[in-house]
Amino acid sequence: MERIPILKMGRFLLVTIQVDMHDRLALALQDDLTSQIVKWKARGVLIDISALEMVDSFIGRMLGTIASMARLLDSDTVVVGMQPSVAITLVELGLSLKGIRTALDVEKGMAALQDAVGGADSTLSKAGRDENSQF
């Protein structure tokens, strides 16, 4: 079955959603992310939605669920790269994505995660050997 790849970067997991997700793919991502958080003891999850041309209530709910589940597993979530047209539409739809932290781009999102887990100290130094490893 088709899967959305999850990249490990130091203590963080990075997900870039580049396809128009059908429901089963979205649910598979929830499952995969939670097991990867536990497997790698990830402290943060960064979800890049810059390629998404639309976020409906289903995808919004999925993002909220991922953030809640990650929180319970001691991991912070930041959603980055939302297109302005998507933000405008979401507000009109009535979805404010409460409880989901956002940042404008990947760089700002990574900075937010590093702040959240207590500075950049060990994040970067320990990251070296696992950087860019994909699984």
Partner: protein, 134 residues
């Protein structure tokens, strides 16, 4: 009102929702809608297509490009033969859901459209139509 083009699509699986979204986007682009307007109607279509699938047990969507004098627009009509909606007013209220959704589908789709029409008969099905003018 003149109908310039029309196309009917099946909504039987969550992959069909993705196909419907893509078809709506294509029509919206062809009509010359701006990016925000495209996003609004595609999002509304996604909400309604999911309703058709989840609550109506599947159905169809009719995509029509219309012209009314100087205006042109895109009309989407979702039809199912499901159980119908007992209380339409309640179903349009934000936060009301009979399933496991967030209850934003119908009300949200209405806000994202210029015109909105719903008819539902218990035991016979539901028909929701939205229109976005250029």
């Amino acid at each position: 009102m003149r109908i310039l083009s029309s196309e009917r699509m099946e909504l039987r699986s969550s992959e069909d929702i993705v196909s419907a979204r893509q078809a709506v986007r294509k029509k919206a682009v062809a009509l010359g809608l701006g990016l925000v307007d495209q996003t609004k109607i595609v999002t509304a279509a996604s909400e309604l297509a999911r309703n058709t699938l989840d609550y109506g047990g599947g159905g169809t969507v009719l995509l029509e490009t219309l012209e009314n004098g100087v205006r042109s627009g895109l009309r989407l009509t979702f039809e199912d033969q499901g159980p119908g909606i007992a209380d339409i007013k309640q179903a349009l209220t934000d936060g009301y859901t009979s399933g496991n959704g967030m209850g934003l589908g119908l009300g949200g789709a209405k806000r994202l459209s210029h015109e909105f029409e719903i008819t539902s008969t218990r035991g016979e099905g539901t028909r929701v139509s939205i229109l976005r003018w250029k």
